[in-house]
């Protein structure tokens, strides 16, 4: 602590003469001070909770699409997990197979698990984030926490883009020899859309909420430990 107080007092003295003007030097120093901040116990505990939130993402789906039509009043369900694709199974039915069978009429490629490289790298990345958060707790530095958070934001955005792109490709690369010709389309990502006789609903699944929760907890822990800087 004495080290820190010493540092802060030097900061204060530096502020005095330059009041009212932006000083790049001072800002950088302040930023450095921020990144060097130690993580408080509260923050570390919250980060631990955040790490735990990553575990259910291997159990619950990231995304859920439901296709309703007259002959499917209970809807056909498609679940996208971080590591696989699955359909609903009411009364022994296999919805994924059914969706593929129906899609072949409009020349859409079948949704095959093996076609998705995401099922390899998404679980790997989530595992890496799990380790990074544990590392942050142990090392206890703001810089680690910020690194992890920023990296995670990038990972989320990239994954989302990848998902969007997948859907775009499936809806646009239709076999020209398909028995039923439909104009290329973009399947819904969030919300609903009418596609031929189907109303398709698409919403994030529980795993996505856990990932959002993970991010929010990291941000909260940044705030909690970052607040410390202002106090001084």
């Amino acid at each position: 602590m004495s080290n820190l107080q010493d540092f802060i007092s030097r900061q204060e003295s530096a502020i005095q003469p330059l009041e009212g003007k932006f000083d790049m030097e001072k800002w950088l120093e302040k930023a450095n001070a921020f990144f060097d901040l130690p993580l408080r116990l509260q923050s570390r505990l919250i980060i631990l909770i955040a790490a735990v939130l990553l575990i259910p993402t291997f159990i619950f789906p990231l995304w859920n699409m439901t296709l309703y039509a007259n002959q499917f009043p209970d809807g056909l369900n498609l679940y996208i997990y971080s590591y696989t694709l699955d359909g609903g199974h009411p009364e022994g039915r296999n919805d994924l197979q059914e969706i593929n069978t129906l899609n072949h009429y409009i020349g859409m490629r079948p949704l095959l698990e093996s076609d998705f490289s995401e099922f390899g790298w998404i679980p790997l990345m989530i595992g890496i984030f799990f380790i990074l958060t544990l590392r942050t707790i142990v090392l206890g530095k703001m810089s680690n926490l910020v690194d992890t958070t920023v990296l995670f934001m990038y990972f989320s955005l990239f994954s989302f883009w990848s998902f969007y792109n997948r859907l775009y490709q499936y809806g646009h690369n239709l076999d020209p020899k398909a028995p039923v010709k439909v104009p290329p389309f973009m399947p819904p990502i969030i919300g609903s859309k009418q596609l031929a006789n189907f109303t398709v609903y698409s919403y994030p699944g529980p795993a996505s909420y856990f990932l959002v929760g993970f991010l929010l907890l990291l941000l909260v822990s940044i705030l909690l430990s970052g607040r410390h800087l202002k106090k001084l």
Partner: protein
Amino acid sequence: MENVRKKIIFKGMISTFGLIGILSLTLFSGCSRKPEVEKGTEKSSTIGAAVASYIAPGDMDEYYLFYSGGHSGNVFVAGIPSMRHIATIPVFSLYPSTGYGFDQETRKMLGEFTWGDVHHPSLSETNGNYDGRWLFVNDNANNRMARIDLRDFKTKQILGPIPNVSGYHGGAFVTPNTEYILAASRFSIPLPKGTYAPIEQYATDYKGVVAGIAVDPKTGEMSVGWQILMPPFDYDLGDAGKGPSYGWAFWTSYNSERATGKLEVTSTQKDRDYIAAVNWKAAEQAIQNGKFKMIGGVKVIDPKEVPDIVYLIPCSKSPHGVDVSPDGKYIIGSGKLQSITTAFNMEKILTAIQNKDFTGNEDGIPVLNYDAVKEAEVNVGLGPLHTQFDDKGYAYTSLYVESAIAKWKLGTWEVVDKIPVSYNIGHLAAAEGDTINPKGKYLVALNKLSHGRHISVGPSQPESSQLIDISGEKMKLLYDAFTEPEPHYAQIIKADKLKPIEVYKKEDNKHPEAIWDVKDAKVERNENHVTVKMIAVRSSFEPWKIEVNEGDHVTIHLTNIEQTTDMLHGFGLNEYNINVVVDPGETKTIEFVANKPGVHPFYCTNFCSALHQEMQGYLLVKPKQSASTGMIR
């Protein structure tokens, strides 16, 4: 939400029907031939009936009704209270609708017969209650017994023709834990089957048989079980004891005169015939102790040599039904040519047996003293046949001659209500009405004649089934339904006791030749045997082309790789008399000899999809080379 919706529909219906009622009253009050008051009463009861049996589109029935289909060889499935026919389960007859009897498995099961006569469906029981596992039905014509699995509503086993049993009418009735299914000979013959004896020696050389078909408690697999040699009467209907009568089986018999010829006269001379009471626990034991002889390859007990197994209870003339009360205390027998139904007391039967209170014997089988075992004679009406029970201690007896049902109280033996039916009722079925826990609420009258109750369809008329509300003091007619010939008996089970599957899951398909990927579809030749592994999926067959030579033996293993409900595919082969239907996830095998040269289209017979019509292919049969010239014939 659902309840609110139902209430609204209910209210809407009442007001709609009410309005119709008022309108018709106003319109026809001037020209009605019947008194106005009567018209009004009739109308309001019709409204009540309509509401009570109405199942709104999309809503579900509360009970399943399993009808026997008589000489159609089928079982019919309907819903109660709507009485809507929902499905037909083929059992003993070819049924192109589901491809039954066209694929190898079902062809083998049917054997040499193309029809059967389904009489008495019997739901499997555990502790005297329906357990929803299997439905057993007998074949009166060819002496067979079939098991339908209620998991997929398909016939899984046909046992028979059962040795020695001739005219299998007295079944299927199951014991309280489905240990045995009752079986009996309606037409006594010389035994074993194939033996000749002149008809003049009927009374001595012809034999009746009562039997118990054993059921494997896990798999439902049936085997012949035990048989008992009986005097040459006509064994008619049966029921298994429960509670205090557990371990006993009962059959009615007519023609104790041992008469031949014009039976309507010759077999109706005596005032009493018999109910045969069989201690099946003792029969089981006797077989284990080696007290049997082999007849027709079956272990048969001769009661002359093994006493204490069979007794005869005198019953009023030409009895038809025998039914055990839910508590197992009373055995109800009805003589169809008298107007009384007799309740025998099981306790009294056991006492009479113990005291050897016999009045004679038939071929060594003791006849119990009627007065010692009788509890009551109930004056039900003309032509009593069968009795079923409700949850409030009432019994319901069908009256064939009178065309009515009598409701009477067990214990007080008083007839409390009677309802006319249209017309000539045979069996009747109450909701779980032959179990230890009848549900009450509904009863179905299975009537033999329906004339004038429907728009005419010419001389060949359907049977009529009437739904009757038995929840109140008075029985109320709710609905007239019509079926193809010919329901004899039916059983009613609460719908939630059944959990049918709707798709055969890929992982549960054990057919050794099933394939799931079009890459595995192929045509293989081994000399003159051609084997095809084929896939059916919306909207194509793979392979769609089968090239063979005239005279080749062709085997097609067809897998429907769909995994969604209701996506059936058929395979009809033009002019080869073949049609199979394959359910989602199912594999069926078709075998035939390609003896017709030329090009034969095959196509999907069960409408599947928007491109169903395109689901087709060709069997190309190359004509044989002419032996002398080497030219194609």
